[in-house]
């Protein structure tokens, strides 16, 4: 256990170190306001990354999450604004649709034996396309419920805000940590990531688990979409473009191996926060041109991975 905890520890240390470094450059970053923003602004990414963590732990990948987020925001907006449903009902419907979508992809992956990369790529096209068919235009959501949610937050000392979406993300992480490390389902996910044949021979219900994993990822992407719609009060087919890559990066920075079987949900949290840190730092700095922004994001990504590898390597090899 201690050996596999190492990358998690490494990531946490790197995050603290990076945060300290950022604060030394931009003292204003040391405030509860910034920390509160970390949670609020990255809530949808964090939630989607949790789903991605399960998928990657099982040895797969889900490229559809960004598109599902976008689709969900549009669906929610359509249900509320055009069909005049109550937001909570709209959320429920959207979550069911997203979960079913994920489950279908999981079934395709399992029964058609097509790699998840390709199935979810097709899923990504489909969800994006479906969203733009529903409404190419962005739809603003106006509903007292939305205003109420946006107005409710816990004021932290120092002016920071712990918003509803931030709290939702924290709850999702807490549940996911339990799910991954403390339930049979979690064990089965790791088992699939370790070796699908072995898992099958050891009695893991492969079909059911695979479908559940992608359904879970779909559900969480849907939830991320709901959060996104709460966050922006709008539905737009191009929302959350490319978020799948951010989510994958967060998961991997968090120490989960893309080959599956190793990793922690908590690491993903740190991975998400690290990405938020980078973006916030760039905003605070405010001097980077468009292209330097990209280069710096890439270079920092590289440095985190490199640091992690070095810490990883320092440990004893398996024999």
């Amino acid at each position: 256990m201690t050996r596999s905890l190492r990358p998690l520890l490494a990531t946490t240390l790197i995050f603290l170190f990076a945060y300290a470094l950022a604060v030394s450059q931009q003292p204003a970053m040391l405030s509860t306001r910034v920390l509160g923003n970390f949670l609020t602004d990255n809530a949808f990414l964090g939630i989607a990354a949790v789903g991605m963590t399960f998928v990657i732990l099982s040895g797969g990948i889900d490229l559809s999450v960004g598109a599902v987020i976008g689709f969900t925001t549009v669906l929610v907006a359509v249900l509320i604004m055009w069909l005049e449903l109550h937001p909570l009902l709209a959320f429920a419907i959207a979550l069911i649709v997203a979960t079913a979508f994920g489950a279908i992809m999981g079934a395709a992956i399992h029964y058609l034996k097509v790699p998840s990369f390709i199935v979810t790529l097709a899923g990504m096209f489909l969800a994006r396309g479906g969203a733009s068919v529903l409404s190419p235009d962005s739809i603003g959501i106006e509903h007292p419920f939305f205003t109420a949610v946006q107005k409710s937050y816990i004021l932290l000392p120092g002016g920071g805000r712990l918003t509803v979406v931030g709290i939702i993300m924290l709850i999702v992480f807490a549940c996911a940590i339990l799910l991954a490390h403390r339930t049979r389902f979690g064990s089965n996910v790791y088992a699939l990531g370790g070796s699908e044949t072995s898992a099958a021979l050891m009695g893991v219900p492969v079909a059911r688990t695979t479908i559940s994993i992608y359904a879970l990822s779909g559900f969480l992407a849907g939830l991320a979409g709901v959060v996104f719609s709460l966050y922006t009060s709008a539905g737009y087919s191009l929302n959350a473009l490319g978020v799948e890559l951010d989510a994958i990066a967060a998961v991997v920075i968090g120490g989960t191996l893309l080959t599956g079987g190793y990793g922690f949900v908590a690491g993903t949290f740190i991975g998400v926060m690290l990405q938020g840190l980078v973006q916030t730092y760039i905003v605070f700095d405010g001097t980077l041109s468009s292209w330097w922004t990209k280069i710096v994001v890439g270079v920092l990504l590289f440095m985190f991975i490199l640091l992690q590898r070095l810490v990883f390597r320092a440990g004893p090899r398996r024999t």
Partner: protein, 346 residues
């Protein structure tokens, strides 16, 4: 036991491809899919198969499919080998942008075009080498290793062009993108030549087998004395090189380097092409010509959408529907159904 003495005759006949009857080629799901997509296009637009001779070159929708599919096909040639080693290269789109930006910027600054082209190809090689080093020396997982360049590379390209679209009028660069040879558009010629060369190099030498071996079991490859690291370096470098060629074509085509949009999301198309071509993302067996065929399927589909007159909101839905059909066709499930059909090969 007698020790074998291996005498090395020059390979006279193609070493690996097994003699398949033409019928078995025609019943490949990819070929069926391509034909089906082309037929749908034809149904949507009766002039689809018409090819005319105009201004010293062929002209027609079919030629457009080849021409527009060429950049992705070229990417797919490099990508096939990366995927065969169980890797993936997400950075090729960004590398296209870098290569185009390099060539365009050099040319507009008065550097002779051939030098600019060589420089662009060299940057592609360097980018590929960088990926390769990340994957082999630092042992970073390919998706993440190449994600770094995917993110940063487009920034680099914009750094070179300073965010603008660098327009040029250099005849050599334009020729690469829009010229023609024997009546065929240059991109098609380049893609064909690259496909044939790459296939020959890989199949006439041991490279192909060794790449497959590394992809199937990297650990066993090491134990068998294979220089897996060097192979991976070569494979990623070659993918970078292919991306650079694609980048030159795309820049030449619009007579300008558009660092922000050149090759955007094309890495996904290239990966899709390779997978449609039957190379597994789990590494191992690969086929370059089939990947090129995969690229053509994707482009035939795109062109079909263009001429169909659907409103553009439906583009992605149609595209995903076609992909799903192809995937189902290729899956073991339907392979079993196929085998039941009379006349189908065992």
């Amino acid at each position: 036991m007698t020790r074998p003495t291996v005498d090395l005759r020059p390979t006279t006949q193609p070493p690996l491809p097994r003699q398949r009857p033409i019928t078995s080629f025609l019943t490949k799901p990819q070929v069926i899919a391509l034909v089906a997509v082309l037929l749908v296009n034809w149904a949507l637009f009766p002039g689809f198969f018409t090819i005319t001779w105009q201004d010293g070159r062929f002209f027609g929708s079919l030629i457009d499919v080849l021409n527009r599919g060429a950049p992705v096909a070229i990417l797919a040639i490099g990508m096939t080998m990366v995927i065969a080693t169980k890797g993936v290269d997400l950075s090729v789109g960004a590398v296209m942008a870098i290569s185009g930006a390099t060539a365009a910027t050099l040319v507009t600054n008065g550097i002779p075009a051939p030098t600019a082209v060589l420089a662009a190809l060299a940057t592609g090689l360097l980018c590929g080498l960088w990926n390769g080093i990340l994957v082999t020396v630092l042992e970073i997982q390919p998706i993440i290793a190449t994600l770094v360049l995917m993110v940063a590379g487009r920034g680099l390209a914009q750094l070179i062009t300073e965010g603008t679209i660098v327009t040029f009028s250099d005849p050599l660069l334009i020729f690469i993108g829009t010229g023609s040879f024997l009546g065929l558009p240059m991109p098609v010629v380049i893609a064909l030549v690259l496909m044939v060369l790459a296939t020959l190099i890989v199949r006439r030498t041991a490279l192909g087998l060794l790449i497959e071996a590394v992809g199937v079991n990297r650990s066993a490859a090491r134990f068998a004395g294979l220089k897996a690291g060097t192979l991976l370096l070569i494979v990623y470098t070659f993918a970078g090189f292919c991306a650079a060629i694609s980048g030159l074509i795309v820049a030449g085509d619009i007579r300008g380097a558009d660092a922000n949009n050149a090759g955007l999301w094309l890495e996904l198309d290239a990966i899709l092409a390779v997978v449609i071509g039957g190379t597994s993302l789990m590494g191992g067996r690969f086929s370059i010509p089939m990947a090129v065929l995969g690229a053509m399927i994707i482009q035939a589909m795109n062109t079909g959408i263009l001429i169909s007159g659907f409103s553009p909101e439906f583009n992605l839905v149609v595209k995903s529907a076609v992909i799903i059909v192809i995937l189902v066709l290729q899956s073991p499930l339907s392979a079993r159904l196929f085998r039941r059909l009379p006349g189908a090969p065992k």
